[in-house]
Symmetry: C2
């Protein structure tokens, strides 16, 4: 096999099949994928499923703590987990630029396999396109997924006064790492992306019998986008204690450079949850087993319906708006 | 709203939501999509479903008889239909180049809506990425779909001696049209892509109680790729009567220009089926209601297992191999 992807690898014929066999089947092989023809046949046990899609266009393809492959599995599995579902079946589609190194592609596929194992999920169908040089920047990946709903009743519409708002770890790491990698900024620290599969943490929360009312991973638009969506959907106010929001100092540094709020930075393995305040400490205890930086950051009030307020330690208040403008493109 | 896509339209924040509301929801709106958060919640009635994905990178975006939007819905719905399933739920993901015209995007989304209606399928979840100029050529679309299996037992492994091989219409129109559009060749004819949703035809075949054993739309790699896969999977020989293969003269002309077999050209709304030879005429009758060029093109034999043979009207024979080499990139 050649060392680089050629247009023939996307021809629907011989070379295409060779690429599928030698790279994709090698890592993704399972009983369903083997029998898959134009589409995969699945036997569904649960009557309620979740279905989600995400395309990944991140640049660079490799960054501290992850790569586009890891991101592509975490992203879709997390979207399923955030609806209380166990990620089960994924499709993946590769859009590859002619000339891409096969060694790099294989490294990315290997990351995908590793992350699939954490979720106990399977790739059941796929697609490969190769486009001429210049038609795409190296590689885009789409993953779509089906999850079986284990815990129902989670929704952005569920928030009511007095609930606590909790984040699962320190925020903004992914945005900061991608920006630094792209701009060649050496971080002089061990800061890595937060990219991670969240199903195990979601399961632990539900296994502890916590009444999680809303759950969302804070991807593009960051924690600020999640909180604003919730405030609007539930017609309540969310008040955040600025000092309680966990942000690593390296991320704060990048934010100053960018002129961004850490609350607007993208995360790929960090989630926000809302639950009755009496259960907040218990939720924290569960989350801290995965990351010691989990924190209660605020509460639901009726002060300014549909708004998010940041309370500073100096006693001042300001609105935290829905992010707007360019932010960072190609973050995921 | 601006006239062109900006990076802000992919920020996960305010402008992103505006694009979703004004373009995507406008055309795709339905009860499930409205309630969709990180993923869509679906109630599944059938215990067996099919799941498929396809990314569309076609160039140009618009061509005689279709556009990337039509292709993106037909492609995934057809992959589901070819497994005997009713297309039900789709996700779509747009990867858009900064600067793309919103009017063109809307035109594409409108084509998608029209084709969804033919399939009686719904978009239930989506994703939008905007990448800086030069990172992708205008627009890629991924669609993934779930179908409910109505007719089971279709497989490439089912072919046995004496079955008939039927094509649903004349072949190669899509490949020929894309090639001509891209190269600026004026066809001086009304040749259009064959791109079409095939579920209605599949349903008609099954409603006629025909025992369809194998079914496949002849996309990249064309009819030649399908026949070779079947011959291999079922360990039989397929013999094709070259003269019986329906090819329009404009397509033949393009083939001569390209030095290609029409049997290798991509189709986007043409399928091949295998069934007991006694039922071939009845199948033809059903198919001719959609297209008068449907044809019985060959049969399954044991002459050269795993091979496809082309019999010419002069009495000569040659192997029709699995396509290889570059063929036409960005055909779908």
């Amino acid at each position: 096999m050649q060392k680089n992807i050629t247009l023939a690898h996307g021809n629907g014929g011989q070379e295409n099949n060779e690429l599928i066999e030698k790279i994709f089947y090698k890592y993704f092989k399972n009983d369903i994928l083997e029998k898959s023809e134009d589409s995969a046949l699945l036997n569904i046990e649960s009557s309620q499923i979740t279905f989600s899609t995400d395309s990944f266009t991140v640049s660079p393809l490799f960054f501290p703590g992850g790569d586009i492959g890891k991101l592509s599995i975490c992203g879709t599995c997390n979207d399923l987990a955030m609806m209380g579902a166990k990620p089960k079946y994924l499709t993946c589609s590769f859009m590859i630029e002619e000339g891409m190194s096969l060694r790099e592609l294989e490294k990315i596929v290997r990351s995908m396999k590793k992350e699939l194992e954490i979720n106990e999920a399977k790739i059941v169908s796929g697609d490969t396109k190769v486009v001429p040089k210049g038609s795409v920047d190296k590689l885009f990946i789409n993953t779509s997924g089906i999850g079986e709903v284990l815990y129902s009743g989670i929704s952005a519409h569920n928030l009511v006064e007095d609930m606590a708002i909790v984040v699962s770890r320190d925020i903004g790491a992914h945005g900061a790492v991608i920006f630094a990698s792209r701009e060649g900024i050496s971080l002089d620290s061990n800061l890595t992306t937060d990219s991670a599969s969240l199903y195990p943490q979601v399961k632990a929360l539900f296994d502890a019998n916590l009444e999680i009312k809303a759950l969302r991973d804070a991807t593009r638009g960051g924690v600020a986008a999640v909180l604003n969506e919730w405030a609007k959907a539930s017609n309540i106010c969310i008040e955040i204690e600025e000092e309680a929001v966990p942000v690593r100092h390296e991320v704060k540094g990048i934010c100053e450079l960018l002129g961004f709020e850490a609350l607007n930075l993208a995360n790929e393995g960090t989630f926000v949850l809302a639950l009755p305040k009496e259960q907040a400490e218990q939720a924290l205890e569960v989350l801290k087993k995965s990351n010691p930086n989990a924190q209660i950051i605020g509460k639901v009030t009726n002060q300014y319906p549909q708004k998010v307020i940041l309370n500073s330690s100096w006693g001042t208040k300001r609105f935290l708006d829905m992010p707007s403008g360019e932010l960072l493109p190609r973050i995921c």
